[in-house]
Assembly symmetry: C2
Homo-oligomer: 139 residues x 2
Amino acid sequence: MPDLRWLLDPRLRADTVPVIDLSLCAVLLNDDANYPWLILVPRRPGAVEIIDLAEPDRAALMAEIAQTATAVRAVTRCHKLNVAALGNQVAQLHVHVIARETTDAAWPNPVWGKAPRKAYEAADRERLVAALHGAMAKK
Amino acid sequence: MPDLRWLLDPRLRADTVPVIDLSLCAVLLNDDANYPWLILVPRRPGAVEIIDLAEPDRAALMAEIAQTATAVRAVTRCHKLNVAALGNQVAQLHVHVIARETTDAAWPNPVWGKAPRKAYEAADRERLVAALHGAMAKK
């Protein structure tokens, strides 16, 4: 259900590439090769908090978190998933789904404010986006 | 639906006080006066990731996140909510629901690894637990 009033926040747009559009969320890959890191953005104008969403949208958000987390884990075989809706710096409601390894640049801490962003090599990014898209489109 | 095989992780137990038991989650107050900070622990033995939960439990988790977030915001009138399932240090699945202020000890960063834990004064803790319990029990 496209909402033509909805626009992706410019900072999220600048830092990510699109992976897939699910029913509720635009699913983006954060262009940071330190961690496989998806960002889910519900296409609902003005939503800042999870509790700004209507109940059916909250249920859809949980379903899409599970779908993307399952895909990320299948593709990366990661040790741990981190799931978070913070929004202290970018107000537009967005949910991080991050694959963590015990060897990654921030482990065991949360990823924010740790390793400087490191853009993917183009071929690596394309391969990862294709794999994630494939794992999610199958559902 | 009590599950007698479920036991709260000892580190979560040491750092928190109980607020209320919802259908799925034990709701705990993190004993850190820097931020009003709830921790929701689904009473499901062995659950580490959100996607370890069966679909009905995931739906219940989202409903209880919304219920607790609504209560925290009503009680604290906070500027922002942070919601996160990380689990890098304590494996037992738990979800943080944290009230953030632009004047708090970590803003605009995530709270983890910032200000040293500061236990509540007993009377303040009791008052906050009672207010949160009241806001959640009403639902």
